[in-house]
Point group: C2
Chain length 176, copies 2
Amino acid sequence: MDDEEARTRLLDAAEELFYRHGIQAVGMDRIRAASGVPLKRLYRLYPAKESLVTAYLERRDRQWTASLRASVATSAQPPVLAVFDWLARWFSEPDFRGCAFLNAYGELGAAAPEVVRVHKAELHSLLTEWAPATASPALADQLLVLVEGATAVAALSPGPEPARRAREVAELLLAK
Amino acid sequence: MDDEEARTRLLDAAEELFYRHGIQAVGMDRIRAASGVPLKRLYRLYPAKESLVTAYLERRDRQWTASLRASVATSAQPPVLAVFDWLARWFSEPDFRGCAFLNAYGELGAAAPEVVRVHKAELHSLLTEWAPATASPALADQLLVLVEGATAVAALSPGPEPARRAREVAELLLAK
DNA sequence: GGAGTGGGAGAACGATCGTTCTCCCGCATC
DNA sequence: GATGCGGGAGAACGATCGTTCTCCCACTCC
């Protein structure tokens, strides 16, 4: 097992545990046990828990954004509506538990890593990119409210319905 | 200082600290220091941290719902739109940091107290009550997405704008 | 006034946390 | 084959947490 594989295993374990149980509720030793990476190596690759948390969120941000981009690009639907179809599938995953970045911000507050804010800015920028060129500049803001709202509602009552409700509203916004 | 005043002081301190810093980040001794209530009395009134957390969320639920109800009842606007005006004022409070119930759920996961789920069910029921009688039964679900979405967006970029954007969308839904 | 009681201040306890250190084994080098 | 050395397993350390205990003082009741 080289360092690269150890990093992957550590981030896999961190993602699974931090996302499911929250960040403060998971100790470093639990991540060592779940990843199989010895503590000494863990601290060589990530010198403190905070850097592991940041790395977890940064990788999740890249993967989340890439998955959404790919799904929107290959959908036959208008991009903005394809977002909600992708959300419906995400909300149906068995271990879905809301937005990892919002959860981290709620738990850590001002101590949350910068990537939390970056993630939300990226999402806003994607929605701006996908909105019809003729639309009002407020449309991206409104769509962002719909995406965040569907995610927050689904966090407490999982399943595709919140995404479908949000999609209905988005269709209305586009037809306006 | 009788027990009732001690309870109030404890819940005030708990609300201020738990909401601002997160639940796990605040120790019982910090609540003792902020409230001025001795530890012995604290544990007589709330036998464990979990019961203090539950009491904090339950009181906040009652106050939040009462404030929203009162504001909607005295507004000249249609009830559903008055909700978003109330949100805009809430988001502008200097210590606003998102929905305390969603934050608690994100931090505690399955270990979150039941009141988190109850709070969201109440909100849905209020929106159903305030929706025009002629509206589609899906309207309350869509409004819930808008309310939660505005709150989530405002958590990371505070101020009244997310509520205004959500209100614009709600107007469109009502005019449909 | 003396005995009992309740509560306040804060030390103490056991558990757990993030982090570091010790010990030891396998392996590469001359 | 002796010698270093990187790394693994896990003990150990200091801090902090939730919770309980000790000590002591003020006050009540006869």
